[in-house]
């Protein structure tokens, strides 16, 4: 009789535990990282008793809730972590490429430069008009603004990236510490207890978080204590037992990210293969390259345009003032007047009245020429004469179309001159309607290839972004699949739990009934005596 009572009592106790575990599952159905728990029910087998005095007594044992099973699968967990690390790297890259794209696309340096060079052609059509010059200055301001917008945007992006990387490393260190704490706990608690399951949940949450930041390799011992290495089994150790190493992040002057493991102990350079930190490292490299390219382009453009300006003569008869200022990598429009745009070439050639040939001359400085030089043509020879003293400065042969250096000038004859034709080469004065220097601006446009380079900057980034998005799509599908597979084992399904609830409730009621029956049997025995 007492056996029946104790069997009933063991059932009531066991199903109370089972019900409380099911309740726990239901309550945590929405908790991230919670792994479904099952009660481990065991028959208390007849045989050796559990106490010294019960030695060799034959007992009908009943049931015992002997522990908690955690519905986890180490392989599925590893698959989710591997996928998360891959996706983490790609997604972290996408964020920054997208920022870069929006910055470059918004600044649209290429279009601003096109407007600038075309405004130059506008001045060429009307070299003394104010309107084309005003448009040119506006377009120059547009270019300066575009370069500044791009440079500032990229610099802000780099600053944000740096802050994000520092936060990510702080998070990594926090997770490593949490994991070490969970490891320490796991070494103390008994296997199969609720506490053990809770600590394993803690451990896996930390591991999932870590794998989002870096590719990790995890090994666990029988107690569930995890050892975490970066990359693979040969990688550097991050967490071992209750000890976690820290990771430090640093940025060099060009904004490139560098990670150091265990900076206070034995520092070691770290370059994780996957995870958000790898994506941040990729992006920091790309961003630093891009900023260097942009700065080089800014310098080339500024120096090129200023050189063209300096090589020409403005409407006041002065050499062109620099259009742009600013230090390395900067482009600032100088406050110059409309008349200071140097459209004219420094030397203007006038054919003498009475020239019978149809030749024209072009001249540029090649030394220190006089303010004005007269050139006469005799046979295949040019003679340079000082028009003030009428003394011969020098003579030189010439081939049409090929520059000849004479009297400090490089002279190019086009067409066929006749004997006795003469030309005056004079320094360009104020109010010139010449537009020859603007041809140099177009030559700069062609040789510099600035617009193509700017568009290529956008294109290269866009292609990389596009490729990453495609990869991320595939990786997302992989991670989703891995999560679904893990969830099929570990997830809490409320319908299943409801059924479990009913099952254990019925078992509990039945066990109570056993107690009642045992009491009734005992009562009828008493009454029979």
């Amino acid at each position: 009789m007492s056996d029946l009572l104790s069997i009933g009592a063991s059932g009531v106790r066991a199903y109370q535990t089972a019900l409380s575990i099911t309740g726990q599952n239901i309550a945590n159905a929405g908790t991230a990282g919670y792994v479904r728990r099952d009660v481990r029910l065991e028959e208390l087998a007849p045989g050796a008793g559990r106490y010294v005095l019960q030695l060799n007594r034959n007992i009908n044992g009943g049931v015992l809730a002997n522990g908690v099973d955690r519905a986890a699968d180490a392989f599925r967990d590893a698959a989710v972590r591997a996928g998360t690390a891959e996706l983490g790297r790609t997604s972290a890259g996408i964020v920054w490429l997208d920022r870069i794209e929006r910055t470059l696309d918004g600044a649209d340096i290429g279009a601003a430069m096109t407007r600038f060079f075309n405004a130059g052609e506008g001045i060429a059509a009307d070299p003394t008009g104010n309107a084309p010059r005003a448009s040119f200055i506006d377009a120059a301001d547009g270019v300066a603004t575009a370069f500044r917008t791009a440079a500032e945007g990229l610099s802000a992006t780099a600053a944000d990236l740096e802050a994000t990387a520092r936060l990510a490393v702080t998070e990594l260190n926090g997770l490593a510490a949490a994991l070490a704490a969970a490891n320490a706990g796991l070494s103390r608690v008994k296997l199969g207890t609720n506490e053990h399951a809770q600590l394993l949940d803690e451990r896996d949450r930390a591991l999932d978080g870590l794998s989002n930041l870096a590719a990790i390799h995890v090994t666990t011992d029988d107690a569930g204590i995890a050892t975490v290495r970066f990359d693979d089994q040969a990688g550097p150790v991050l967490v071992e037992g209750p000890r976690a190493r820290t990771v430090a992040v640093d940025f060099n002057s060009s904004g490139m990210l560098a990670l150091t493991l265990d900076p206070a102990g034995t520092p070691q350079a770290l370059a994780p293969r996957g995870g958000g930190l790898a994506g941040l490292a990729d992006s920091s490299l790309r961003l630093a390259d891009l900023r260097a390219n942009l700065a080089a382009m800014t310098d080339a453009f500024r120096d090129g345009v200023n050189a063209v300006q300096a090589g020409g003569i403005d409407l006041d008869g002065q050499p062109g003032a620099p259009l742009f200022g600013g230090g390395p990598g900067e482009l600032v429009l100088n406050p110059i007047g409309l008349r200071q745009i140097a459209a004219a070439r420094p030397w203007s050639v006038s054919a003498a009245p009475g020239n019978t040939g149809g030749a024209t001359l072009a001249a540029s400085s090649a030394g220190s020429p006089l303010g004005a030089t007269r050139i006469t043509v005799t046979g295949g020879t040019l003679t340079a004469i000082d028009p003030v003293t009428n003394s011969v400065i020098g003579t030189a042969g010439f081939t049409p179309g090929v520059p000849t250096t004479l009297a400090g000038l490089a002279i190019t004859v086009s067409g066929m001159p006749q004997n006795g034709d003469s030309f005056t080469i004079a320094a360009t004065g104020s109010g010139s309607r010449d537009n020859g220097n603007l041809a140099n601006l177009q030559a700069l446009r062609r040789s510099g290839g600035f617009e193509s380079a700017a568009n290529e900057m956008v294109s290269v980034n866009a292609s990389a972004l596009r490729a990453r998005r495609d990869v991320a799509e595939a990786q997302t599908a992989i991670v989703d699949g891995a999560r679904a597979a893990r969830d099929a084992i570990s997830g809490v399904n409320l319908d299943s739990e409801a059924i479990e609830l009913m099952r254990f409730q019925q078992a509990y009621q039945a066990s109570s009934r056993i107690i009642q029956v045992s009491r009734e049997i005992f009562q009828s025995l008493i009454e029979a005596v």
Partner: protein, 307 residues
């Protein structure tokens, strides 16, 4: 396979978010008419679109320059036409003056008219173009000046600049006055149209040339000079006309190139509205169905049946 309740909700959220963002994207494409919202949507096409935009900006600028050049050449043509008319009249007057039966007052009248023609020629040679620059000047200064003694001289310096009408194409719109009105061979040297007509007028004026033989020689020389000047003007006008014709062809080419660029750009970045609307409709139907089925699915729970 068992599906965790939280996972079911998460997955439904992700799927519906994905559908919503597809719908928003399609809506943006339809609203802007552009398939390429950012370069990364289609990097290759976006690069080509950027190149086409640059070409279009260049063509637009060169078309503006062409219009200006065409107008200035038109002004040149009209000025030279007037010069031709004036020289025609001068030639008629010179031939009339060659008639020995004229008396002094007849000749004085002819001389007065010739003086007026010189004034007109001076005015025409000093015409300014649309930009306010001398039509027949050099790169600096005025074209012609008249000294106190009435002699007219070309004072322009340098050569007028051509206007760019293409990446490496230019057109000269200002002809050098020296070459249009001057450089007319006369004996060993050269003379200009003003000197010829003024010289004739001076010879015909009362007391200008008392010796009839000398006068006749001057008149005959002037007739030859005016003919040479006319022929030079006709040549200059023909050259202006040829350049105008070239500009017209170039302008047509650029206009055609621009519209072709526009078509290519449309095919690269334009959105196929019908396809996009159909796709949007499909996405919206899928989204509604997903929402409805999710709502139905989550309404069911075994807990509802535990009494």
């Amino acid at each position: 396979m068992q599906i965790g309740t939280a996972f079911l909700f998460d997955r439904a959220t992700r799927q519906m978010t994905g559908l919503s963002s597809s719908a928003a994207r399609l809506q943006a494409e339809i609203a802007t008419g552009k398939r390429i919202q950012t370069p990364s949507d289609d990097p290759v096409s976006a690069g080509r679109v950027a190149r086409l935009e640059r070409l279009d900006a260049d063509d637009s600028r060169y078309l503006d320059n062409l219009k200006l050049a065409t107008s200035i050449l038109g002004q040149s043509d009209r000025a030279l036409e007037s010069v031709e008319t004036q020289l025609q009249r001068a030639s008629e007057l010179a031939i009339a003056a060659a008639n020995e039966t004229l008396n002094d007052s007849n000749r004085a009248a002819i001389a007065a008219e010739l003086r007026a023609i010189v004034d007109d020629l001076f005015r025409l040679a000093n015409s300014t173009d649309l930009r306010g620059a001398p039509l027949f000047g050099g790169s600096a200064g005025a074209a012609f000046t008249r000294a106190a003694d009435g002699t007219i001289q070309f004072v322009g310096t340098g050569e007028a600049s051509p206007i760019p009408i293409g990446e490496s194409a230019t057109v000269l719109v200002n002809d050098n006055g020296q070459r249009v009105f001057g450089n007319i061979p006369a004996g060993a040297g050269t003379t200009d149209v003003f000197a010829i007509v003024s010289g004739l007028a001076a010879a015909l004026e009362p007391g200008g040339s008392p010796d009839p033989a000398t006068r006749q020689a001057t008149v005959q020389a002037s007739i030859a000079g005016i003919a040479a000047a006319s022929s030079q003007i006709v040549t200059a006008r023909a050259s202006v006309g040829a350049r105008s014709a070239r500009l017209e062809i170039e302008s047509e080419r650029l206009t055609r190139a621009r519209s072709e660029n526009e078509i290519e750009r449309g095919s690269l970045e334009g959105v196929n509205i019908e396809a996009a609307i159909t796709e949007l409709q499909k996405t919206m139907v899928t989204l509604q169905a997903a929402q409805a089925s999710f709502a139905r699915l989550t309404q069911l729970s075994v807990f509802d049946y535990i009494r």
